[in-house]
Amino acid sequence: MKFNPSNNPAKFTRAISLALRILVAFSFAPLFGATPKIPAAESEPSYLTPLDLQLSPDGSRIYVVCEGNDSLIAVDTHTNRVVAQVKVGHKPKGLALTVNGKTLYVANEWSDTVSEIDGATLAVRRTLKAGWGPTSLVVGRDGRYLYVANGIGNSVSVIDLATGKELRRFSSQRSPQHMALSRDGRRVYVSNVLPHLRPYDEPPISELTVIDTQKQVVAERILVPGVIELREIAEAPARQGGYLLVPFMRPKNLAPLIRVEQGWVLTHGIAVVRPPLTRSPVAGSPSPQVRGSQSSHATVSLNPLPSLSGRGWPAGPGEGEVTSARVTQVLLDDIDYYYADGYGAAFTPDGRYALITSSGANVVQIVDTARLAGFLRRNPAVEIANRLDSARQFVIGRLPTGADPRGVAVSPDGRKAYVANRMDDSLTVVDLARLRVTSTIDLGGPKEDSRLRRGERLFRDARYCLQGQFSCATCHPEQHLDGLAWNLETPQLGRDRVANRTLRGIAETAPYKWNGHNPDLITQCGPRIAKFLFRSEGFNTQELQALVAFLRSIPLAPNRHLAANGQLTDAQERGKAVFYRRRTNDGREIPYQNRCDTCHPPDTHYTNRISTDVGSKTQYDTISLFDTPQLDRVYEDAPYLHNGMALTLEEIWTIYNNYDTHGVTSDMRKEQLNDLIEYLKTL
C-alpha cells in the first residue's frame, strides 16, 4: 500500500522524525563516542553545598543553608562544630532570622515553600507557601511580614506571618535572587540577576528594586546601567551614609570578542548606591531613561529616608547638589588579574570594612570604606566604571577562601567574618582585627570528590581563564543564561551576535552553539573555548570530562506552568491542539516542514537537533540556518531566537514571523497564539 503523508500525517511525522534521528545518530556517532556516558542516576554523594549563612543575634551560632542536601545547619561559634541540622525543602537558598533570632526562615527554591524553623531547637514549625522559586527572604522589623523573592516568578511575596498566607505580591525584575532589609526596617532591597529585557544590540540595564515596608509599595526601581548579575546587598551604617554595596558583572557583549585583556570581555565590581544629598522634589517620580552604551552613572530618584541621609558622604567632583540617588560603579578587578563572580557582601558593624566574596576567584575581598569614599570623592563617577586600577586604592586585602565562596556574615562584635564555601562544604573564618584567615570549619560533607563535584568546581573556577577573568558560571549564572547576546564570532567582526543559552537539561540536545557546529559538549567546552574564550590552556582531558559530566547532569527546574498531576488547563489543551495542528483555520494543509512538532518533536526535548532557517537572519548574520533550540522550560529562557531579538515568546510570531517561515501562524487569532504559548510553557 502506498503511504500517503496527507492521509496519516502523524505516522508520516513519526517516520520522518525517526529517519532524521537515525541520520543524526550515525552522522555524529564517532563524536558522541567521546562524550562521557553519564548514567541516568549516577550515584552521587550527598554534598552539603552551603550557600547562605547568618549569625544569631548573640553571635553564638551560625546558621548555614545547604543547597546540596536540603538542610539547615547550626554551628556553634565557640567550638566551631556543627551542633544541629534539619531537613528543609528542596534546593534551599536563602535564610532570614527574626530580630530576636528565635525564628528562622529558609527559602526552598524547588519546593516553592518557606520553612519556618525554631531557632533554639531547629525544628520545622510550619511550611509556608511562596511564589515560584523562592530564593531569598527577609523578615520585617516588627516580625509581622516575611518578604520572599520568587526567582522564577519574578516577584516578591509578602507573607503575613500570623496567618502564613500571602498578602500581596510585588513585581520585580528578572530572577530576583537576593534581598536585604534596611537597617531602619523601612525598606526591602531586591537585587536581580538578569537584566531588563531590552533590544539585543543595546547595553544591559539591571535593577535594584526597593519596597517601602510602611506603605507596602514598590518605592523605587533603581537602575544600574551596563551591568548584570546584581548579587547580595549590604547597607553601610547610617553614620557612614547608609549607602548600599551590590556586587555585579559588567559585560562588554556588544563589542566583538577579539581582545580579552584590559577588561574587554567583562569585569567584576560593585555598585555603590548613594542617597540623595537633598530631598527629591517629587516622591515616586520615574527614573530617567538610561541610554548610551557607556553609561555607568545612573541618576535615579530615591525617596529620602532618615537612614539614607547622605551624612558623611559629600558630593563627588562636579556633582553639586544631587537630588536623587547616585549609582556609581567601581571595579574590584586589577589590571593583570581579575576577581570573578562577586557574590556575598557584608559590612563590619563599625562600617570600616566591606567584605565581598568572589566566588570564581576563591577569595574574600576586604574593602576599606574610608578609602573607597575618598576614591569616589576624587574621581568622577563616569570615569571609573571601566578603570582596572581602581581597586588597589581601596581593596586592602584578598583573603583565600575555600572553593566557590558565597555568603558572608560578620559577627555582631565585629571580630570575625564567616564565608560559606559552596563547593568545599566548609566555612572560612576571618579574623577582622588582623585581616587574616584563622580557621576553616568543616561542615561535615562527604570527603570523596566525585566526578560531578570536580566538574562543577571547574565550572565555577575562573583560574582556567586568562588572568582569572571569568568562569563558565560567569555567563551562566545559576547554570542558566545571562540574558545577553554576545558578539562571539571573530571571522567577520561585529556580525553573528548570538544569545546566550541555558545549560539546564542540555544533555541530550546536541549539537551545540546556534550554528550547530559543535556536535557534543566535549567539543563545545574543549580546546575551542580554551583558545577562543578563556585564552588559556583550558582544561586537561580529565578535567574536561568531569566538566562535561557536570554539564550533562544539570537538571531542569520543576515546571511551574504544569499542574502537579500533569493535567493541562483548557487553554493549554487548546494550545496543544495548535502545536500539533495539521491544517490552518481555513482548512489549508500546513506543509510538513512548517508544523511546530516537525522541528520541535516531543520525544527529543522538542528539538529535532537540526539547523533550520526560520527567517530570523538579520543584517548582522552571515548564516541563515540556526540550531533548533529545545523547548523544555522555555518560559525561563527569554530572550528568544538566535540573537535574542524576540524579547517575549509572543514576539517570535507577532514580529519575527511575517512570512510563516517559523511555523504557520499568520492565520491564527490572538486567542490561539496565547493558547499556544500557554502550552509551550508546560513543556
Binding site: 505580591r169 513585581s171 496565547n674
Partner: protein, 401 residues
Amino acid sequence: MKRLLFIVILLVTATVLAAEKPPLITRWENFTTANGIPDDKVFCLAVDGPRVWAGTEDGLVLIENGKVARVYGTGDGLVHRVVMGIAVDKRNGDLWIGTFGGLSQFSGGQFKNYTNLTSGLLNDIIYGVAVQDYWVWVATTAGISRLDTSTGEWRNWSEFNAPFHEPWSYGIAPAPEIGKVYFAVWGGGMIEYDIATDTMKPYTDPDEEMELVLFRNQGLVHIIVSNVAFNPDTKMTWGSTYFGLTGYDGRNWHNYLTKDSGLASDFINAPKSRGNEVWACTDKGLSFLDYKTNTWVTYRRNKQNGHGEIEITWPDQKKTTLEAPTSLAHNYILNMEFQGKDIWVATAKGLSHGIREPQMEAQLYGNAKLDRRSTRGRQGEGAKVSKDGFPKSGQRPAGSQ
C-alpha cells in the same frame, strides 16, 4: 418627660427634613493646560489616597496637594500618549494604564509596557482597565483581555469565544462582593463574568431585536453601553448608555431617562456609584442621584457667565436651580472618581475637583429660601436665588474662580 419626647421628635423631624436636601458640591477647582495639565481633554481618573491620577489625550498627570505634581508622557516610558483608563492596584501601589497604544504598568517610578505584539494583549486600543486581586482586566476594541500577574498568563474574550454581539469593550467593573465582573460593550450590552464558573453572560435588550428596552424596567436600557460601575454597598451594577442610565440589582433593572428623572442627558459616558449615590457623566453636565430619596442634582457650567448651575430635581419632579460661583470645567463629562467626600471629574475641556463645603451649602440652600414643603404643588416653579447666585452676604467662598 413630654418635653424630652418633643425635643427628640423635633430633632428627628429636622434630621429627616435635612436629609431630603441632597449634599452639594459647592466649589470647583479646575485644571487645564493653563495650570499644568498637558491636554484639556481628560478621559479617566484614579484616586490613590491623596494622589489623583488623570489620563489625558497627551499623557498621564499626577495631582498632589491641589497641584499638578508631575506629567508623564511617552518620553518617560508611557506606551502611548492617549490615556483612556487607569487602575490602582491597592495591594502593591502599582498603576495600570490603558492607552490607545497598549497597556503600561507604572511601578516604582518605571513603566513596563504590554502591547499586542509583545504580549498576549488582544488589542492595543484600550478603553478601560481594572485590577482584581492578581488579575488585570483590559477592555479593548477587540474584546476583553486579562493578565494574571501571578502566572503571566493572558486570556482573551471576544466574539470568537464569548457571547459578544460586538467586541468593542469600553469599561470594566469588578464586583468581588458578588463574585462577578461586569463589562460595558459598545453595541454588545453589558456582559457579566462569573468568577466561580468562568462563564460570560450577556445582558442586551430584552427581546434582542430592538437594541433598546421597550418598557421602562424590563431590561438593559440599550445595548450601546459606554461604561459600567459596581456599587459594593448596594451590590448594584450601573451601566451608562447613550440612551439612558441603567441599574441592575441582580434580579431587576432600574432605568432612568431624562424624560422621567433629573438626568441631565440620556447620552452618558460613565456611571459611578457608592452608598446611595449614583453619578452619571453626561454630555450636558454631571448628574447625581440619591437613590434612596430619588432626588437628583445636576451640575452644569453656565456658558454665559461661567458660573456653576446646580439643578435639583425633587422626587416629585419639581426643580430648584441654584447658582454657585464656580463650575465644572466643561459640561461634556467623560468620567469621575471619588476622593473622600470630594469628587474629581474628567471633562472634554479640563479636569475638575469638586469640593463639598457645608457652610457654603447651607448658604446656598438658605439663599434659595428653600422650603421643601412649600415647593410641593408648585409645578415647575423653582426656588428663588439671588441674581448673581452668590450668598446675599456677598461673601464669595475662598478659592472660588
